[in-house]
Every structure is written in C-alpha cells, then in structure tokens.
Subunit: 473 residues, 2 copies
Amino acid sequence: MLAQGISEKIKKEFIAIVSPENYEDTQTSRLVYSYDATPNYQALPEAIISPRNTREVSEVLKICNEHGIPVVPRGSGTNLCGGTCPVEGGVVLLFKHMNKILEIDEANLTITVQPGVLTVQIIQAVEARGLFYPPDPGSMKISTIGGNINENAGGLRGLKYGVTRDYVIGLEAVLPNGDIVRTGGKLAKDVAGYDFTRLFVGSEGTLCVVTEAILKLLPLPETKKTGLALFSDLESAAKAVSKIIANKIIPATLEFLDNATIRVVEDYVKIGLPVNAEAVLLIEQDGQPEIVDRDMAKIIDICLQENAFSVEVAKTEQEAEALRTARRTALSALARLAPTTILEDATVPRSEIARMVKSITEIAGKYNLKICTFGHAGDGNLHPTCPTDVRNHEEMERVEKAFEEIFQRAIELGGTITGEHGVGIMKAPYLEMKLGKEGVAAMRAVKAALDPNNIMNPGKIFAGDSRKRVVVS
Amino acid sequence: MLAQGISEKIKKEFIAIVSPENYEDTQTSRLVYSYDATPNYQALPEAIISPRNTREVSEVLKICNEHGIPVVPRGSGTNLCGGTCPVEGGVVLLFKHMNKILEIDEANLTITVQPGVLTVQIIQAVEARGLFYPPDPGSMKISTIGGNINENAGGLRGLKYGVTRDYVIGLEAVLPNGDIVRTGGKLAKDVAGYDFTRLFVGSEGTLCVVTEAILKLLPLPETKKTGLALFSDLESAAKAVSKIIANKIIPATLEFLDNATIRVVEDYVKIGLPVNAEAVLLIEQDGQPEIVDRDMAKIIDICLQENAFSVEVAKTEQEAEALRTARRTALSALARLAPTTILEDATVPRSEIARMVKSITEIAGKYNLKICTFGHAGDGNLHPTCPTDVRNHEEMERVEKAFEEIFQRAIELGGTITGEHGVGIMKAPYLEMKLGKEGVAAMRAVKAALDPNNIMNPGKIFAGDSRKRVVVS
C-alpha cells in the first residue's frame, strides 16, 4: 500500500483522538523529529503525535493502517542505527504522556512500566528498594525503556546479566491493525503459544507499538569492586579476558579500550589514564563481599600472568567512578575529534576478540582511516569507531567500505553485524551477510504477516535496495 | 492444503533420501509412534523417518511441503501436552542419527549439540568440565534436547536459572520449504533481525525442524545444600516462599508438595516423609560455600518464623538425594494411584501460590475429584495432578471441567494455562483464555507466514474447533 499522506480529514481524526495539543505538524516540530543520534540520516515526518494511553495508540494505528501512513515509535532517539529516522515520512509517536512507573512488585520481583519512562528512573527506583535492573546501555541517563525494548539495548553488564530481552517478561502492545495484545506476565515460566514477548523485544518498532512492559528484577548485589589492568599488547589483554572466563569467573563488567581510545579519552577527561598502554581492561565484579574479594584477587592474578604491566583496584567509590567514567565517556571523547563519529558494534565470540581487533586495525590501515576500538570485551561486543566528516564524500566512501569489511570479518569469525545497536536503516544492507537470503526471507514473511500494509517503521531492518549509508532528506 | 498421503512414489523418494533402513511404515512402528507421554491421545503416523543430517531433513521437508504431508519432529515423546502425537497422520521425524555433542567450547562457555542428544548427557558432559547447563526438566534422564527446545522445557532450577529458552543462543533449523537457516551464534549479544532463536524455542515443532543448537553454559556452582521444611498449613508455606524472595534470596530450587502428594510419595518410596505435614518445601541453594551457608541459615530462620514445625538440612549427599527423590518421584508415585494420571501445569505469579492451591482444592471438592498438587513454588509453576481413568467417561467430563476452572482461575490471578508443558493438543482449546482472540490471531498469522501449507505438527497450539480432551484414533 502506498502512503497516502495525512489529509486535512485524517488530521482532524487524529486530533479528535489525542486532542489538539498532542498533534504537532509545524515545520519546527517536524525538523526536531527528523533525525536521531545516528549521523547522516534525516527525513521529515508529516506529524508528531503524543497519545495519552493505549486506547489512543490503538485508535491512531487503526487510522494509519487504513491509509497506509508510516508510524515510527520514538523514545529519546539515542539509537545508533537510524532506527527512529522517519525515512518514509508519516507519524512519529512520542510517549511523553505514557511515562509512568506503574508498579514495583517486591513479592514477584517485577516492575511494570510505560514506554516513556527513562531507563535511569527505573534503575534508581528499584535500587532504592534494594532491587536491581541490570541492563545499562550507554545512553541510560536519557534513553527510554520503550526505546531499550524496541532495540533490545545492551550495556556494560551484559556479560554477567544479559541484555534487555532477558528482563522483559511481559508486554502490552498494539498491533498495526489496532489490536491490543498482552504477552507473558509476572511469570518465570510461560509457554502459552509463541514467545511474542521476545519476538517484539528488538523488533525495532517494525511489528507493534509497545505500550506497557513487565520487567524482571534481581536482588541488588551487596557490593561491587572496580579494577583497571594495563597491557602493552592487545593479545595479552584478549588472552586475559578468555582466561578469566575459563577460570569460571563471570565479572559483571569486562570492558576494553585500545590505545587510540585511551589517548582520546585521557585528552578529554584528564584523569591520569596511561596513554602508553596498548590495551586497557576495566573490570567490575559485584555480589557478596567475600566472593567479590576472591574473584578480584583471582582476576588480578590472571592479568598479571598475562603480562599486564599494572593492575589496580579502586579503593574508594570515587576512584571506581573515575575508572567507569573513562569507559563511559569514550563515545563523547571520540565525538570531539571530527564533525562525524561513526560508531559500530560488530560482535564476535569472546574467544575471537584479539583476531577481530587486529583485523579492525588492518582494515583501518588499508583504507587510511582512524578507527578507535573499545567495547564490551567479555561478550565480544566491540565498538570500532571512526571519526570522520560526512561532507567529505571521498572519505565517507572509504568509511563505508571499511565497515563492510569489518562486518564481513565479524561474520567469518562466527559473529554478527550488530550486537546491541540494532539494524535500523544503517545495517539493513548487511543483514543478509548474517542471516542468508533464506533467513531474511523468513523474517520478511513474519513482518508481512503482522504488518501487511507495512506501516510500522517502514524502511528499517530490511533493505529496500542495495543502498548503503545515504543522506535522506 | 489437504494431506495427500504418502503414495508409493513419494515413499520411494523418501527412501532415496534417507536409505531404506531409515524409513519405517510397518504397523508396529506406526503404533510405537502413535502416542507420547500424554494420556488419552493416539493417532497413527503414516511413516517414521530418521534423517542422518540436516540436508536430509531439508530434502524430506521439501517433499512433505510439496504434497501437504504433516511432519511431527519427535524426541523421546516425554511431553505432557500431546505435542508429538501425530493427530493428522503424516511423517514422524526421529533424530536417532543426529544425536551427537558436536563441541564444548570452554572459552565461549557454549555447547553445540544435535537434537537427538539426551538432556542428561549434556548435563553430565559439561559438569565433567566444571560447567553447568541448568535446565533440568523432570524427564531429563530420557528427554532429548531437541524436545526440550521445541517445548521450552522448564525444571526445578527455573527460579534462579531460568528455562531452556534462556540457554539457547543459536539454532540451525529447517523451515517447511526446506530452507536451512541459522540464528544467533556463540554470542551474548546479537540484534541482527528478529529474535528467531526465541521464536523457535517453544514453538512445539509447528514452525521448523531444529537440527542443531548452541547452548549457553555457566560455571558449575561450587557447592549445593538441600533442606526440607514442614508446615501444618498451606498458607504458611506460601508465605515462607514469598518472604524468602522478599529477603533477596533466590534459591536454586524451591519446590512444594501438598499433603495429598506427600502421602502418595511416602507410600511409594518409604523414606520417612512426614505424612502429617500439610505442606512441604524442598529447598536447595547452590553457589560458593560461604554464601550457601548464609542463605540456608536465613531460609531456615524464615521458615521457622512462618511456623514451619520442622526444618532440616541434609548433612550428606545421600540425605540430600533422598529429599530430591521425594520431589522427583511425585509423578511416578501419583501415577500408581489410578489407570490415568492427568498432570497439569497452571502457573501463577509467585505471590498467588497460596490462593491458587486453595482454589485447586475447592475446585477438586466441587467436582468430587482427588487432585494432588506439587510443583515449583519459587516460580509459581504448580502441577495439580488428578488420578483418574479415561474409561470412566462421566468422571473424565468432571476432570475436564475442573481443569478448565483451574486454568480460568490461574488467568484471573495473572497466570497462564501452561508454565512449562506446552500447549500441544491438550491446551489448544484454552489458549484464547490467555492470549485473547487478538493474540491467537497474531500467532496464527506468524504460523501461516512460515508454514503456509500447515505441514509442521498440524493440530497443535491452535484449536481447530472447541474440542477439549478427546480420543483420536
């Protein structure tokens, strides 16, 4: 079905549902929601609608479905795959009214939330009760849980605790036809039909609009320790990572920064990072004090065995925070280097990290690009990052080619084109590398089954053609 | 598409693929695979095929798809929902040749297996290396991992460790059209497209044939302790369960047996169980020794505070094994009571266990039935079990009505019609209670998208009509 656009008549219908103040179509508003955190993608929506409840979402979707109007659900737009850029126009849905924590259930260890709640609000609310919501994407201070669910956001604690998908146990969602469905519940076990909860998590707004979620909580770990290990070569750091796991220790966090990233971060935050280190591991363990102490002692031993030239454990929370800051500011620091920052998240099995980082360095050299690499070493989720300038078309072509080779290499090593950022527009041309024609065809079939008029975030996940990174305006 | 049956020509094609010794259609073989562990369902397949590899599975499926021949993938047939009963005839697929552990990868903490491997073989193989595969369904000594994946099997450790779904991180599967697809990988993070790994887990053989799986492993907990708490009333036991969790302790196992079950089990195994207790909690905690000791001490305290009249912790592994046996033999013990045993798995939020057990008792009284209840208290997954006799049609009608009320009550309490057994034929008429018309319609759409000719385990999950428990022959 071709988009018919929003006529005056349809506009009136939308306004009748959400009331005038929740319907915006000024040029300014449209510009505000024409892009997200992903460099180099921009397209104007026709309108921005802020429904106040699930029923309104359902009514809006029915109209969009009838008229073939694209719907792009949007949280804070922090995604890095162009996931909320309205490439085919239509309606951007905002959740500023659906932003409540509905319930914290301490007996069942769950929290029930609306999509517009900020991730950090969830984390703070549950920690105040001695509970724990582990997923901590880099953007958690500004991202919404709705966005996290749609993108299956990861974070620094993924190694030990998993990602958003592992904590969503129930959803209320509106299907493109306006049907309101409920999946799962406050249940550790539920096999009534297909696992639509997990199908919807990470579906990037292409199957439904999430209007409520039940999240699983854990008891808050009693304590946490943070350490930093410095290595003069990359292989040693990678070996240390493998050896820690092989010794049956699963740290809460095991983050990696290469020399290029260390230099950039130190230049930015000036906290005394060792700019001579070729590789840095940021290590955190949490849990009961005696176990944390024991694990950290073993980890230090292993790092030293693998030729770390320095290993230190933060003695105070302040020191620990400084170390975490080093990792958390990596993206901001790198973003200062050039007008455009391309941050990727090719992911490989943990055992292949050294090979992958080496390949990234070689590919950067081949295309004469600066690529800094940092990321989640424990789960093989790397963030090769290229400071560049979209206005330099010749360089952008090299960037494009380099990342295509990086994705190809990740696949060769048993990895994937995206560990936690999502496919969106940006990775759509590469999806077949990972899934094969057959896999993509099967996913398209599911998409068509649930969204026959292709109104839900069209142009995402599945490549319309072979376009790579392009400017859409 | 209507099934055309297996003509001589098609039979020859099958034999050309798998060789004569892997194609059976004698009356005896057909009878052997006409039923599974579920009472009261039987239907003859037309043939039993044992492919030797993925390519053969693909070739067989292409033929079945072309001719509309039903395909029922079958492990050991231990499921309790009629999931592997070939109600529409066709081909039963066996995996006796695809029964290898392909790899244990200690660096990435994964095991790669073929579908025909027994669950217990996986558990033993990884524990020999100090690793841990937590899902432990009651049938694990004879069930296959392929069956576990198709049914998303649970087990006694679900509370702390989750279920099969939480450990499957990659699949090779054959779609009905013969396409071979690979999902996920040895990856903690992967968001390349929809989460087909989890969509396929628990899809009960209705979407694809699983031909290989990558399972996530954990380090083996260093130690384990087992305890038994006896209560003179049900509410106190349920309160103890809630209070343990509210105290931020997540035991590895928290199992519940009601008085009726205790009596039956003691009569069977004679290990000195207290037949005067109204409720028994079997508690296990695993982990590092100091933590296990601390947790068990707290748990004992809580049970005593909630009026347990006896709490004992096993002093030896022998004692512990005796306690675990009490729980593990519950089904066998109950099965001795009457010719037919109907074991259900209505599941509620943990906080609703006392209410649910009370309702079950009331419903049993209303329909003048004996219903014993045991199950996984920690995750609200109860197994109300009715000893009956399928030849007694009048009683079977009351059984049917009682369980319908039990499911209804579970839903009212925020629960589900099945926590770990699956929908199969048995729960198909009740699926709408949980998902609503809209939810069932959406799942049917996905089924039709991936299996347009409805060859994959037809008659399962979705009710063809309003039939409840029936004899199909």
